[in-house]
Symmetry: C2
Subunit: 234 residues, 2 copies
């Protein structure tokens, strides 16, 4: 890393001083998929009020009952409207269409995109490059009245969903344009035992964070692991 | 991470069983820059024979004397010819031209590209997208007779060069097409106290590893840190 860690201006405040988010309602679009279900479970288990969304309200309600911990299920639009923070955990295939349909419901909301645009072939996973640069930038383009951030990309859905796992040993890279929004998401990540939310740049640098999942898939395969990431020296 | 950590075929061998690389000569092209100098210092301090290369032999020799630990300096071509493993730590600007000029000298060598193609503006660092996909894939395209891998992207040049730092608390993601080549580079990374070399995929997934440095720069700025990465659960 050349000239990257040169002296920088002192931050105006302690970067670990984060807001209290315990009273916020968290919606999870795509909450019936593995990633969404795992995040919903962890956040609800940590005491957060969680509503999972699905195209069919009934499917979301069934999944919510299975998750317990007070999780509710609703159709995507209702999930969005009732939530303060909305995590987007839908498959990349349906990303643009889902967000376009929910534009009004997501207006004014803090949106957290955790979608990884990946392709798969015989050689494994590889990064797809969205026209907008990344899934998060696509969300920002489609949701001009929402506050869009990106986070929760590198979590193992297996670990998230395993009730026997007490702590998830990983950091969550949080990206966004507005410091207060990033800090809210960092605080949300920190609700989950073992996790920290670490600010990791603007949305224009989301693509590499999203697509690093392809590398973690290679790690998982080689080491038979559920790999995550820790950022050292912070 | 959806369906990423599903059960995979058992590896044929223990992924931590790595070759003995202590007898190999390591060349560092761009060895007078911060990153190259730091890597040369760490590897030589760990007992590796290191030759740093520069366009001007004299500059390389001067830098080598400053580094001590038996480091030698030479012009790039001689550095390449005398080395078994050649680390490419040149600036992205000169990457293609340097490798093109050294194609014959690098034939048959194990090449380790650690170049991060980045741009900088008022908002900080951002990823550049090489036409070939990544710096590593550019190297592979320009060096058809070399064995090209990618590694050592996320290291703090400040920490590498600081003699008071005993251990570098970070993992090194190693990418490549040939398992034996990757294992050699993983073993080389593991020579440096605190580091592990972790296989992290094929060269087609190098871009996100290279450009993640833009995110680490944001981390460094926000947390006043020299951030590195650890891969958890491996």
């Amino acid at each position: 890393m050349n000239s990257t860690d040169a002296a920088q201006k002192a931050p105006a405040k302690d970067p670990w001083e984060l807001p209290d988010v315990s009273g916020l309602v968290v919606g999870v679009l795509g909450g019936t998929g593995d990633q969404g279900r795992g995040l919903a479970y962890r956040l609800a288990r940590a005491g957060q009020k969680v509503i999972i969304g699905s195209r069919a309200a009934e499917r979301a309600e069934t999944a919510a009952r299975e998750l317990g911990h007070g999780v509710e299920g609703a159709a995507n639009a209702e999930c969005a409207r009732r939530s303060d923070i909305v995590i987007v955990a839908v498959p990349w295939d349906g990303h643009a269409a889902t967000l376009t349909a929910l534009r009004d419901d997501l207006a004014g909301k803090l949106v957290v995109d955790c979608v990884n645009p990946l392709g798969f072939d015989k050689k494994g996973a590889y990064a797809l490059k969205p026209e907008e640069g990344s899934a998060a930038e696509q969300a920002a383009a489609l949701l001009p009245e929402s506050r869009v951030t990106a986070a929760f990309h590198h979590l193992s859905a297996v670990l998230l969903q395993d009730p026997a796992v007490e702590k998830i040993d990983t950091d969550v890279m949080v990206l966004g344009e507005v410091r207060a929004d990033c800090e809210t998401v960092q605080a949300l990540a920190a609700r989950i035992p073992g996790m920290r939310g670490v600010f990791a740049g603007r949305l224009r640098n989301a693509h590499q964070v999203e697509s690093l999942v392809a590398n973690l898939i290679s790690v998982n395969r080689r080491y038979k692991a559920h790999a995550g990431l820790r950022i050292t020296d912070v």
